[in-house]
Symmetry: C2
Subunit: 149 residues, 2 copies
């Protein structure tokens, strides 16, 4: 199940990368991020641009330029990134894709799906990128396993 778009996935990985590598008041090179995380440079740039426009990052051009996290990473939650990059209706969608599905005109799966969405929403509300950074997991593609999942 691919819950998140690559756009959102790349944003999450990049932000954790930045937390791992950011010195005080230091701008981080986007090219470095894209190289280390194996993400298309131009695609990543555009994703980060939208985070800059939203005030989560600050950017600086030129030879010593780059981007930096400008918002308290404890207040950058997964759900914030999802709302910015996937849209505010992310958790409003019907499992069967039916328009107007809700309490008034529910689809057969409405109740099941609503509960599942609420559970997931809560998890995403309670997970900041600082939390994820402190969990110290892998954010690169490198894996010991031969088979991919």
């Amino acid at each position: 199940m691919q819950a998140l778009s690559k756009t959102t996935i790349y944003a999450i990985r990049a932000l954790i990368y930045m937390l791992n590598n950011q010195q005080t008041n230091q701008y981080i090179n986007i090219r470095d991020i894209s190289n280390d995380l194996d993400i298309s440079f131009h695609f990543l740039t555009k994703i980060l641009q939208s985070l800059t426009k939203q005030g989560l990052l600050s950017s600086y051009r030129g030879a010593t330029g780059g981007i930096a996290i400008s918002k308290n990473p404890q207040n950058i939650r997964l759900i914030d990134l999802i709302y910015i990059l996937e849209g505010n209706d992310f958790f409003d969608k019907c499992l069967l894709g039916l328009p107007g599905c809700g309490t008034l005109e529910p689809c057969p799966a409405h109740e099941i799906w609503s509960v599942a969405k609420d559970d997931l929403k809560m998890k995403f509300e309670n997970a900041s990128i600082l939390d994820l950074k402190n969990l110290k997991g892998r954010i690169t593609n490198e894996s010991l396993e031969l088979a991919t999942a």
Copy 2:
């Protein structure tokens, strides 16, 4: 959040439709299903074909032909349709799309996501299309609301 592909969504809606309309030992016309559910006829036909190959449906050609549910609808669960149409690795995917993400080499979100997936998996294991039929929800696009969600 679009958890399921249109392929799986159409299959679920078509099966519930069939339960709602099926007489004893009667073949149902695919054209009728596609008309009533506003689904592309040829696309739906192919989806139903794969369910026929898997033994969930039986089909019959010719003037009085159609398709019929051949398996006990109580034993056709959402998870069965998902495995058939989305693949057996549906619940194995990493939230961040990383290959080989697992207990050995987890991504930062692995634990959160694993629990969420297990919860959802259980819901889909416990929901048969007969259950969904009995919940009597809406399976068509018709909605009273003007704004769509």
